[in-house]
């Protein structure tokens, strides 16, 4: 193991390490802790200049105010409306493309694979004008499905990379055996490969959920008002209205951050497995 396990060192160093880790963590998360604390600070505290001390009372009414006075709830629902169909769509499409690219040998296989990989690295701005135009001409501008369709297509790139590598790591003998038995190709896909892909599907679902929930650029390009805007774009426009009302900005921020954070904690193992794919040989 590297570095040398701390348990092999003296008791004093071990204690020192056990103190150093939480201290480092608090310093690392200082911006987050500050905002979390501000989100439950009464407005009167801020007016009196009590920015760092303990809040004089726990003002959960900040959260209530955000829900009552702004379309926050609508923004969050909109985010779910975009995120969930995207997760389902991108995973479905990439199971298919990943299977095709992992199992079959044909001349353009690698070229198509690298097209998916490369497409997924391009800057969003090179797509912006044509995608906005396409969405407008399909009559899907400023709708949740217009935004979701783009996300599905774009995420298919990353998901295909992931799925293809995952299927490639499965034992190919399974498929050969089925073929010898005369099983149809789509049945091999559905009854043999899909059940084995559960961990990959779980990992990608949490990752895509987080990516899409946190997307800001496409939300601002393809949606325009509170009835369709996801929470990232909504929070940005609320930030413009709440000038210096930091207790509200903080409460809104915490709300917007909550769903992906919960997702991460519930599905931690899958999340990290997805993110670190390829980090070890």
């Amino acid at each position: 193991m590297f570095p040398r396990p701390i348990t092999q060192l003296s008791g004093a160093s071990q204690t020192l390490y056990k103190i150093a880790v939480p201290v480092a963590l608090i310093l690392w998360l200082l911006p987050l802790l500050g905002v979390a604390l501000t989100s439950v600070r009464p407005a009167s505290d801020l007016a009196q200049g009590n920015y760092f001390g303990l809040p004089s009372a726990l003002a959960f009414e900040n959260y209530a105010l955000v829900f009552q006075n702004t379309p926050m709830l609508q923004y969050m629902l909109n985010s779910f409306w975009v995120t969930i169909p995207t997760v389902i769509g991108a995973i479905t499409l990439s199971c298919l493309t990943g299977f095709a690219l992992a199992i079959y040998r044909f001349p353009s296989n690698l070229i198509l694979f690298f097209m998916f990989v490369a497409g997924n690295f391009v800057p969003f701005q090179i797509l912006m004008v044509p995608v906005r135009d396409l969405t407008l001409s399909l009559g899907m501008y400023n709708t949740w499905y217009g935004l979701a369709l783009f996300h599905i297509a774009f995420q298919t790139g990353f998901c295909t990379l992931f799925m293809r590598n995952f299927i490639k790591s499965l034992p190919f003998e399974l498929i050969e055996a089925a073929r010898v038995e005369g099983v149809a190709e789509w049945r091999i896909f559905w009854f043999i490969v899909i059940p084995l892909m559960r961990p990959a599907i779980a990992a990608l679902s949490v990752l895509v959920f987080t990516f899409i929930w946190n997307d800001f650029f496409w939300a601002t390009v393809l949606t325009t008002n509170a009835s369709t805007q996801p929470v990232t774009a909504g929070l940005s426009s609320l930030n413009g209205q709440w000038i210096a009302q930091w207790h509200l900005v903080s409460a809104g921020s915490i709300l917007a951050a909550l769903p992906p954070v919960l997702m991460f904690f519930l599905m931690q193992r899958h999340f990290i497995a997805g993110l670190t794919l390829g980090a070890v040989k």
Binding site: M1, F2, P5, I6, T7, Y17, K18, V21, L25, L29, P31, L32, G34, V35, G49, F52, L93, T97, F99, L101, Y104, F114, A118, F121, V122, P123, F124, Q125, I126, L127, M128, V129, P130, D133, L134, L149, F150, T156, G157, A184, T210, N214, F216, F217, V221, T232, L235, N239, W246, S253, A256, A257, V261, F264, Q268, I272, L275, T276, A279, V280
Partner: protein
Amino acid sequence: MSAFWKANQRRLAPWLFMAPGLAMFLLYVIIPIFQSIWVSFYDWDGLGDARWIGTANYVELIDDDAFYISLKNNVIWLVLYMLAVPAGLMIAIFLNQTISGMRLYKSLFFFPFVISQVVVGLMFSWFYAPNFGLFYNLLEWVTGSGTAILADDRYVTYGIIAAGLWPQIAYVMILYLTGLNNVAPDQVEAARLDGAKGWQMLWYVILPQLRPATFIAVVVTVIGALRSFDLVSIMTNGGPFGSSRVLSFYMYEQALSEYGYRMGYGAAIAVVLFAIMMLFISGFIWKMWRDETER
């Protein structure tokens, strides 16, 4: 029909499996790249008729100060963002122990990456806020006078990059933690018996084994640096006086914001950004291609 299917199933199947995903990807990603390049030769407000103006948009870029400021900031982003790689490695080494509660500590360290960049931007705006921001006060305490980082054209880009590094370091850290977990213990022990310690051990024994993690860390960091848009938009909206613009933001500003709808000019900026990114992308793809064909 069914005889034909039986004979050709294996040849047709991949295309049928791929058709929906490939069609969507072509429609929304691959074709728009070429359309954007095409649009960059037009003068177009997004609504009326587009007028062919040849390379005029690119000629205009050459004399555009705002373009150079954005380009310069992109270079600063790229260079400073690379700090995420060593910083992430250091934190990963610091945390690669097995004391009780370590799993929770590791996930909490990873937290910033899970949060939206919009929220990260707001958090750091609060952190830097003049008079009451934590960082502002810290600076005042250390140097005697506070600086409003986000309102000062000398520091603003660095302030935003620091905010971007926070989640990026967390991402790199998790890559390296996974990598360290898979370092061959026998090699480490053998090196230890040979007297390798500290830096030597890290450089000659550990880092070579972490190469796949380093490759991914570099890829995601380069892409992340060049994609920077959210933080600039949230924290400063390009200001003060356009000094924190980056190409991605400047493109958006030209093409879609209140400054007017100059789709052609915006597309030209996007093409430049795309060209810069292609330099890196082709490098990555070349390496992945080599790994793939060697196997």
